[in-house]
Amino acid sequence: MAHVRLTGVAKTYGAVKVLSDINLDIATGELVVFVGPSGCGKSTLLRMIAGLERISDGTLEIDGRVVNDVPPAQRGVAMVFQSYALYPHMTVRDNMAFALRIAGKGRAEIARAVEDAARRLHLTPYLDRLPKALSGGQRQRVAIGRAIVRDPRVYLFDEPLSNLDAALRVATRIEIAQLKEAMPQSTMIYVTHDQVEAMTLAGRIVVLAGGGISQVGTPLELYERPENEFVARFIGSPAMNLLPGRIEETGAETLVRLAGGGIARAAVATTAADRGREVNVGVRPEDLLPTEEPEALFAGRVAIIEALGEVTVLHFAPQGEAPAVLAKLPGIHAGLRHRTLRLTARPGKVQVFAGGRSLRYPAL
């Protein structure tokens, strides 16, 4: 029930710059996911919003009030930690009630809040257990319950699913999605390094890299129109193929002659000045299609096949220095190994990057 605004936020440890010039507006009721490789500062940013880390520069506002120097408990935020961070000596009930007791709430009110949260998270039968008698998924639900009970203005999740096994991770992810559904007015910020979590949960994704924001957008915006090579390769699995080449024809559609001999047509507008520019063409493995036409984007020998049933991932033999090209074909394809395949892609699915930045977006 609050909007969060970061203006020029930075974090330095002594001379080491971890984050700089973070500008971000998170509206009431949004679920924003911070995603990025480890060490990109996403957890640090979350901890700054929580008040566990000092903000070195810039301002953080919650509901229009600058809270840079407001102690964590008074910011109206609740946090769910990766390691659950349950109080091991307290029962589930006491864990959830702790914040309300500290706040001096009445006994009846506490009991009501705890039981509400427990019912919502299916924890009612476990209220009198100690955390050590719970499974990982149950523990994380208690941690979420501890946040709900406080009725915070902003929920913060710090890699809440990373300690769970794969099956539980999916189940808990869906529970978090349902929780968000049930509380449309609460603002949530969620940190993860797992792009599947980011894509499935987020209203908007913030990709952090190199101490700053790489791109902000809805999951499909990031997938379809990545602003730069980093986002292009970070979102989507397997990562997008990048093929070096040179622009030959410009206009509403751009034609790139690739170093590997292929020709790529991209639905990206360019001007005559761009002719001859060295670029990287980006195509997602799932957008590569086999073709019989003489003009192909890529031709290569299939080195390895990963048959997953629903899709077949082809690893082509690397050509020169460039990393191996991957293609993902729907369904089952037998007998492709060691065969040479010609591939193409629809112009709308092809990205063109110059100097790491997409030509779809105006130059900085």
Partner: protein
């Protein structure tokens, strides 16, 4: 004189080398013999490996078991036997030593004092140690403070007692006070006192020495335990709005409760055996006698092994339950 010291050092060094090599030789030779008796080849290789595997741990345990037998089990059995015999340990006297013990004034005084020590010293040491651990935890100069607090641990009880004699030292009012405590008292306008002869209070004076020593021990162990608390639980509590005071008592202390109990009981056992400090400071005069010193008195001044053994067994009976609880606790911690 110097020659004598050098000779002693050489002798000690020689003993250490011989001791270490004797141990190595024992383990090497015994394992060799075992392998020779049950060779891991031939038709019975499998059975031989199993048999040798079952015996081998005992080869390693044997020296320790022998040591425990000679220095622990035998003395206990002998103490029981001695406590039922006369002063010289020759004539059977039945329960006479125990009857004497029950009626002895000095024994009752010792029991009372031991109880006092038991109540005050472990509690004070643990609390002060906990406070020191918590307060020095996040300070930049915390480690210096910690080493200062820990340093008394390196001093022997006798050494500590000698140091504290100077603190409690008494000179008549018309002379300069060389004792720190009396100097402070006089400086504040009071009259000097002979602290260690003041009944009941002198016990506190002696306890202060052990507290001074044991606070360092408690601090080191509890400081490690405090560091072991998951940082996230503390951060979660901060987000939940806990004040530093609530954080300490409701989140930190409950999580290290097991360690606190171990520290407390360890000091309790030590206190039950307290001896050197009392011997060096008052030798049990002026109502400061304790069980261990009483035992020592009867053994080496009274030359009565029967009575001394009876007192020794009382000490053992008091220590054993705490010891058992402590071991069980430590085992549970480890799991």
């Amino acid at each position: 004189m110097a020659d004598g010291i050098v000779g002693q050092l050489v002798e000690a060094l020689g003993a250490m080398i011989v001791g270490v090599f004797a141990c190595v030789a024992y383990f090497w030779a015994s394992n060799r013999a075992l392998d020779a008796a049950f060779p891991a080849r031939g038709a019975r290789a499998g059975a031989n490996i199993r048999t040798a595997g079952a015996i081998r741990p005992w080869l390693f345990l044997a020296p320790a078991l022998l040591g425990l037998g000679v220095y622990l089990v035998y003395p206990v059995v002998n103490s029981v036997w001695l406590s039922l015999h006369d002063a010289a340990g020759r004539r059977w006297v039945g329960g006479a030593n125990w009857v004497w013990l029950a009626g002895d004034g000095k024994f009752r005084e010792s029991m009372r004092n031991n109880l006092l020590w038991l109540l005050v010293v472990p509690a004070a040491s643990t609390l002060l140690g906990l406070a020191a651990a918590a307060l020095t935890d996040r300070l930049r100069w915390g480690n210096i403070a910690k080493s200062l607090i820990f340093m008394p641990m390196a001093i022997s009880f006798i050494g500590a007692a000698v140091i504290w004699r100077f603190i409690y030292d008494y000179r008549p009012a018309d002379q300069a006070q060389i004792g720190l405590l009396n100097a402070v008292v006089v400086g504040a306008g009071g009259t000097p006192r002979a602290w260690i002869t003041l009944e009941v209070w002198n016990n506190v004076c002696l306890m202060a020495i052990l507290i001074w020593i044991q606070t360092g021990f408690a601090m080191v162990i509890l400081s490690a335990a405090l560091r072991g608390i998951p940082e996230e639980t503390i951060e979660a509590a901060i987000l939940d709005g806990a004040t530093p005071w609530q954080l300490f008592w409701k989140i930190k202390v409950p999580q290290i409760w097991g360690t606190i109990a171990v520290v407390w009981t360890t000091i309790t056992i030590l206190v039950l055996k307290v001896f050197d400090i009392v011997l060096a400071m008052t030798n049990g005069q002026w109502g400061t006698q304790v069980l261990a010193n009483l035992m020592f008195d009867w053994m080496f001044r009274g030359n009565d092994s029967g009575r001394a053994s009876a007192v020794a067994l009382v000490i053992m009976a008091l220590v054993t339950p705490i010891m058992l609880w402590n071991i069980r606790r430590a085992r549970a911690e480890m799991r």
